[in-house]
């Protein structure tokens, strides 16, 4: 029983990080109908931004504390937001009126570019991510263990989910984003500055990726330039599973994948973990192709 509970905690902790990455994926898709395959690499850049700025932050705010951790998190999000806007401006905007496939392939190109530049600039050797918040087991109860970092990840994921929903549904900017998602031409005719909205969406998505990168690095403090590939892929699957474009769906999908993987590894077979976990997901999608919380979309002809 203890073991099962511990496995559920493990799965929830892993799943909430996947959920956090999936949120960024799904938001960009929801607004722009475009899968940003470089999202996993912005996640990696977020972790490295944290790695390089945390000594500077530690000089001002000494010691691992929640405060200094949040400052590092905020700065890394800012850096990645700027990077995201630049990437959109340089690589995606010139292709806005081209077929969707062109942008998709460009995104894969950007992803490879960031991975290889990362290896060149940061070096390929895994680096130790500094302890920016105190990590300690907060609960030791009958053999169960939850660490402070796992709780923080869960908390931040929920917080960002609520904040995102608020931005998209309750603010003027969110209204403009939804208008753009509904019909870009009509939105432009209504006086919405579409370039600015698209930039904002990318900035927000990249900041989310950076937040996920930092939290990932706090829980798994070994970072390298290729760390974004696998979590990026799994988060993409999580977004599709939850219904891509749907924010609570992404969170649900991420947590489902984390829990499934953990339970498969813990009870069935750690050798075939990914095969079995993804097999289950394929089954779910066969039954409900639009994802768990996705709505059926009717293609306009």
């Amino acid at each position: 029983m203890t073991e099962l509970l511990q496995q559920l905690i493990n799965g929830l902790a892993l799943g909430s990080i996947l959920a956090l990455i999936a949120l960024g994926y799904t938001m960009v898709y929801g607004i722009l109908r475009f899968i940003n395959f470089a999202h996993g690499d912005l996640f990696m850049l977020g972790a490295f931004a944290g790695f390089y700025i945390s000594p500077a932050v530690a000089a001002v705010l000494p010691g691992p504390s929640l405060g200094s951790g949040l400052v590092v998190l905020g700065l890394a999000m800012l850096i990645c937001a700027v990077l995201g806007v630049v990437i959109e401006r340089v690589a995606y905007r010139p292709l806005r009126r081209r077929p969707k496939l062109a942008v998709l392939i460009t995104a894969i190109g950007i992803s490879l570019f960031l991975e290889n530049t990362g290896q060149l600039v940061f070096g390929a050797t895994p680096k130790k991510f500094p302890e920016i918040i105190p990590v300690y087991p907060v609960l030791k109860f009958g053999g169960l263990s939850i660490t402070s970092s796992q709780l923080i990840v869960l908390g931040v994921t929920l917080l960002l989910l609520v904040a995102l929903r608020h931005i998209v549904l309750k603010t003027r900017m969110g209204m403009a984003m939804r208008a753009l998602a509904f019909n870009p031409e009509a939105a432009a005719l209504m006086g919405i500055n579409t370039d600015w909205i698209v930039s904002f969406t990318f900035g927000l998505g990249s900041a989310l990726a950076a937040a996920a990168g930092i939290l990932f690095a706090i829980v798994y403090p070994s970072i390298d330039p290729l760390m974004g590939i696998l979590p990026g892929l799994k988060a993409f699957v999580a977004a599709v599973l939850g219904g891509i474009g749907n924010l609570p769906g992404a969170a649900l999908g991420g947590i489902l994948i984390g829990v499934t993987e953990t339970l498969v590894a813990g009870y069935l077979s750690s050798t075939y973990r990914d095969a079995i976990a993804f097999g289950i997901l394929i089954l779910i999608l066969l039954v409900k192709p639009s994802g768990l919380l996705g709505k059926k979309e009717i293609e306009k002809v």
């Binding site: 073991e3 511990q6 496995q7 493990n10 799965g11 902790a13 892993l14 290896q119 070096g123 390929a124 050797t125 895994p126 130790k128 990590v135 087991p137 030791k140 053999g143 263990s145 660490t147 990932f216 798994y220 403090p221 070994s222 390298d224 290729l226 760390m227 696998l230 993987e261 953990t262 339970l263 498969v264 590894a265 813990g266 009870y267 750690s270 050798t271 973990r273 990914d274």
Partner: protein, 394 residues
């Protein structure tokens, strides 16, 4: 403007074609004959190839090994070279990626005309290059691939390290008789030939010694989350966990094991030996043991001279990969001297006849399967340092 530029562009086009043709011919011609390996062409430097993971996930392995090899070449050349000729080391980076070793080793043999190949640390990548060396009859010496399959590829493939059956048995004996462990769990990297082999021999040895393997779990290199496997292991209450993986994952495994309240010693093999291990695992690794090829704390003259020379050149203490890289080049030079030539077949015979060669990592004798028969050392991690525990002879 357009007309003005046209002739230049045209001319440039022609010169490009000419350059491409020349390049093609050069590659083609040098690819056809083996310039340096023909007997009689005993002038100029002796070209020795090396392939190593200088970048990528196991970069510290390749870099350490290469530094050791380079130091050996320096020493050889300072002493007048081999057969009156200097050694020229041509190094190619295989980026720690599957597929790359085959490409770079083909290039070393066909285009650069090397007479022997040194490399790699990882067994999976040595296994990729070995058939190519065998086919071209170029002696290959792996400094530190411990999987038995590597030298089984053919009679041109050698190694200067011990093999996993020995390393696995040493660790099994140590766990059973020195640490008095009874129930051990095994956590294997199922993507690595090295890890699978070492796990197998450890299990056999530990059971033969009267111990029990209470649980087995797997992971894949590149994984960051091991909590599911570790929780499953914790449920069976092992006395220790054998983790025959590489340093890239071992640090995180130790960290997560301690977070889950799994406080038994971790045991491992030479894949742990890296300066990157401790920074990631930190205090979680305290009291864990692993077997490796040498310890810089060894007081023998061979080791201390090497450590001194290495520190003078690189300003750091050499690890086992560096020591083995050094020995691989030294043993090749020794074989060439005894063969009196750089001819592949003759160097091969001389290498096979190596007996009691005093290397940094101990006295090396090539056995019938071209594996080095030599002692292993066991280190413990204490106060963030690798500390010498004992030496185990075959």
């Amino acid at each position: 403007m357009q007309n003005f530029l046209a002739p230049i562009q045209h001319a440039r086009g022609i010169s490009l074609i000419a350059a491409a043709a020349t390049l093609f011919l050069t590659v083609f011609l040098t690819g056809c004959d083996k310039p340096a390996s023909t007997p009689g062409a005993a002038t100029g430097p002796i070209k020795v190839g090396e392939f190593a993971s200088m970048t990528g996930s196991e970069a510290t392995f390749g870099q350490s090994s290469h530094e050791g090899t380079l130091l050996a070449v320096d020493h050889l050349n300072a002493a007048g070279g081999v057969l009156g000729r200097k050694i020229e080391l041509l190094m190619e980076d295989d980026q720690s990626q599957a597929g790359q070793p085959a490409t770079v080793v083909r290039k070393l043999i066909a285009r650069d005309g090397v007479v022997a190949v040194l490399g790699e640390v990882a067994s999976s990548r040595s296994l990729e290059a070995a058939p190519i060396c065998q086919q071209n009859q170029i002696p290959m010496i792996s400094p530190s691939s411990t999987n038995p399959k590597v030298t089984a590829v053919g009679d041109y493939i050698f190694r200067v390290c011990f093999i996993d059956p020995f390393q696995g048995t040493v660790m099994a004996n140590f766990a059973r008789h020195t640490l008095h462990l009874k129930k051990v769990a095994v956590l294997t990297d199922m993507k690595s030939d090295y890890s699978l082999g070492l796990a197998k021999f450890f299990k056999e040895g530990f059971i033969a010694d009267g111990g029990a393997i209470v649980a087995e779990q797997n992971y894949s290199s590149g994984d960051k989350d091991f909590s599911a496997q570790l929780t499953a292991l914790k449920a069976v209450n092992p006395d220790g966990i054998f983790v025959p993986g590489y340093y890239t994952e071992v640090g995180l495994i130790a960290l997560q094991a301690r977070q889950l309240g799994l406080n038994v010693p971790l045991l491992g093999g030479d894949g742990w030996e890296s300066s990157s291990l401790i920074p990631i695992g930190g205090v979680s690794l305290e009291g864990s043991y692993f077997s490796t090829h040498y310890s810089p704390e060894d007081t023998s003259a061979a080791v201390q001279d090497f450590v001194k020379a290495f520190r003078a050149k690189y300003n750091e203490t050499p690890n086992a990969m560096a020591a083995l890289g050094y020995d691989s080049a030294m043993i090749l030079a020794d074989a060439m001297k005894r063969a009196g030539t750089t001819d592949g077949a003759k160097v091969r015979d001389a290498l096979a006849a190596t007996k009691d060669f005093q290397g940094v990592t101990g006295k090396i004798t090539m056995d019938a399967d071209r594996n080095a028969s030599k002692p292993a050392v066991i280190l413990v991690i204490r106060d963030g340092q690798f500390k010498y525990v004992e030496t185990v002879s075959p």
